[in-house]
């Protein structure tokens, strides 16, 4: 058998490798237009309603507690124990049903003038995907 002419083999091989490289680049550059989540999935995933609900409930109960504050005796002890129970309820329920960690701090006085008092408390919510922290100040008359 006549010897095969192997002279052009290198060139063809290089050409093949180059075209494979271009093909790979073309795949990368042609980005799909539907990458990522749809709008609705992003909306469902973000716990907007859970956080709003938590904020409303906690801030209402905190206001009730703050209104009971007396300079000499502090918070009303009954209301304080109720408040701690509410926070324990909320923590257990959100962990069980929403798989979320909730932490609420007791209100602490940060500022006081002659006729009003300002309180600060923190709300923390984390459901594994979204982490939410809030410092809320409430100013009430003395």
């Amino acid at each position: 058998m006549a010897r095969m002419n192997e002279d052009g083999q290198w060139i063809v091989l290089m050409g093949f490798i180059v075209s494979a490289g271009i093909f790979f680049l073309a795949l990368i550059i042609s980005q799909s237009t539907l990458v990522g989540q749809t709008t609705a999935e992003a909306v469902i995933e973000f716990p907007k309603t859970e956080i709003q609900d938590l904020k409303t409930e906690v801030s209402y109960q905190t206001t009730v507690l703050i209104n009971s504050y007396d300079e000499l005796t502090g918070f009303d002890p009954n209301l304080l124990s109720y408040y701690n129970n509410y926070i324990a309820d909320i923590k257990a329920l959100t962990m069980a049903r929403q798989n979320a960690v909730v932490d609420v701090t007791l209100p602490a006085e940060i500022y006081s003038t002659t006729y009003d008092r300002t309180w600060l408390h923190r709300i923390h919510y984390n459901n594994g995907i979204t982490d939410y922290n809030q410092n809320e100040t409430v100013t009430v008359l003395k």
């Binding site: 075209s19 093909f23 539907l34 999935e41 469902i44 709003q52 938590l54 309820d89 329920l93």
Partner: protein, 179 residues
């Protein structure tokens, strides 16, 4: 002298190679187009409406009053809850077709109340209300809406209930689907 006898073969080979690469490229870069059902849009609208219904029922109409949802839970009144909830979810009757599709007359739901047992620290539940076909989950996807509700004592749930008799926060969870 350069022999040009093989040029045609080479060009043929290159052209074939390009066609094959192009085909491979087209095949590998196909993507799926989302059909409307895949976008989960109807679920988002349903969940927002269900949460709105619960939130409005849990807002007292004047300062110091009891909210509707607290009242329903305390009196264990599933009938009023059903009327109130479906009023928010139902067809508003204003003739927009999208409204008819989104909120058909057949919204099914199943509402459960979760509470914390302070003795054991665990979370328990009892079923609160259901719509007409509320026990059967159809093929339509279901969404959940929850609401934290303050109640001033032990709710009037079915006899034998073991909810603590104290002021507490419970969770009302409603599973909603079209069907």
């Amino acid at each position: 002298m350069v022999d040009d006898a093989a040029q045609l073969y080479t060009i043929e080979g290159v052209a074939a190679g390009v066609i094959m690469l192009f085909t491979a490229f087209v095949v590998l870069s196909t993507t799926t187009i989302y059909a409307p059902g895949d976008t989960h849009l109807s679920e988002m609208q349903l969940e927002q409406m269900a949460y709105d219904a619960l939130a409005m029922m849990d807002t007292p109409d004047s300062y110091g009053a009891e909210s509707d949802l607290t009242h329903y839970i305390m009196t264990n009144n599933a009938t009023y809850f059903n009327a109130g909830f479906l009023k928010y979810m139902g067809h508003s009757g204003y003739g927009l077709e999208a409204a008819a599709e989104m909120f058909p007359d057949e919204i099914q739901y199943s509402a459960t109340v979760y509470y914390r047992d302070s003795g054991s620290g665990t979370v328990e539940s009892y079923p609160f209300a259901q719509s007409a076909r509320g026990e059967i989950l159809g093929h339509e996807p279901a969404v959940t809406a929850t609401q934290l509700v303050y109640i001033p004592g032990r709710p009037g749930s079915p006899p034998g209930n073991v909810v603590d008799n104290r002021q507490q926060i419970v969770l009302m969870e409603v599973l909603v689907w079209r069907g």
